[in-house]
Amino acid sequence: MLSDLPLFPARASTIGAGVDHLFFYLVAVALVFSTLIFGLVFYFAIRYRRRSPADKATQITSSVPLEIAWTVIPLCLSAVMFFWGASLFLRHAIAPPGSADIYVVGKQWMWKVQHPEGRREINELHVPVGRPFRLIMTSEDAIHSFFVPAFRLKQDVLPGRFTTLWFQATQVGRYHLFCSQYCGTNHSLMGGWIEVMEPVEYEHWLSRGSTGDPMQVAGAKLFERLGCSNCHQSTNQGRGPSLEGLYGRRVLLEGGGTTIADDAYIEESILKPATKVTRGYQPIMPTFQGQISEEGVFQIIAFLRSLKGERTQVVQ
């Protein structure tokens, strides 16, 4: 019976141990203080119970040293909690260089995942042990939240915006993936599994199954198919600006202001092209809303990232 009673979750990511250690510290503080308060209340309640109607309380109305003590001690203990929690959080805010990007789209009620090598899956995510991955996530409808208890990680996934989450798995195994932000009727079914594999097996898995093109290749094909290259020529002589080396750069906008050409900007420019127009160009680009899926947008983004400023083989 007791063996069926889980008390502590599996741990399988690089940040897991840090979170758990902070958790243990918090548990220790909580235990000490609740024992103290429960103990004192019990002890006082019994020790100073009224034994006869003639009993008189000793009136002690305040003690400044005591008040200072029980203000300062909790303050110090919680300062430790803050700095500890914040340093873990900050260290985890930025993905390490060299992380591979995985694109995740949440929609009612499934997770669609696309690996950089092109393989897609639904409600499952296969990753190798020991390699950092960054998830770039967006939602097609309501807010969702990508939650992997074994990784001690969670991030909300928003419509109209991109959020990121990175992790590095440490333990081979099969772990729960949940949606933890309430998103409608089948919210509790919107989940699946994270399969952490040995790198060799992962390579094997990648090569198996219906592998499509790698992301940037699929993106390049889509770029051609949708006719983007008719206007966006690498020579800057088309009706639209050249997109080479665009990714991550600052763009001057028509009507003042600048923006960074990040994932969100690229998506916006595909779906609502008139919103932010590059300076010196006419707002003549049609919207591609309805002609391209979220995954398609991700592929285009991956393709644009691969155009590192020098001419590559892809646009012909």
């Binding site: 930025i94 990007d101 950089p116 960054r134 990040d262 990232r305």
Partner: protein
């Protein structure tokens, strides 16, 4: 009764200032001051609001308690706006790692 009565001259003076400030804020808006257009517009708006609050609403001579109430309203409004906007303004401080 608490006598908040101000002279007619004061009321008219406040009104005249308000009218002048309205004209000023409209005209200044046509001059390009860059970022300072917002600053000037808001400064004038705050001045006008202060004139109304202090004289028309008699806050200048009201009880201390009333002044605290009014101040609290402004302070809380600023808390709401500052914290909300600070989220948006600092979101992009985390650098995104460039490309593959």
């Amino acid at each position: 009764m608490s006598a908040h009565t101000l002279s007619l001259r004061t009321y008219l003076g406040v009104f005249a200032t308000l009218a002048v400030l309205t004209a000023a804020t409209t005209l200044v808006a046509y001059i390009d001051l860059g970022f300072f257009n917002v600053v000037v517009a808001l400064t004038i708006a705050v001045s006008k609001a202060l004139l109304v609050v202090l004289f028309f609403m008699h806050l200048a001579r009201a009880r201390h308690r009333t002044q605290v109430v009014a101040g609290a309203g402004i302070l809380w409004l600023l808390i709401l706006i500052t914290f909300t906007v600070s989220d948006v303004l600092t979101r992009n401080w985390i650098p995104q790692p460039a490309g593959w």
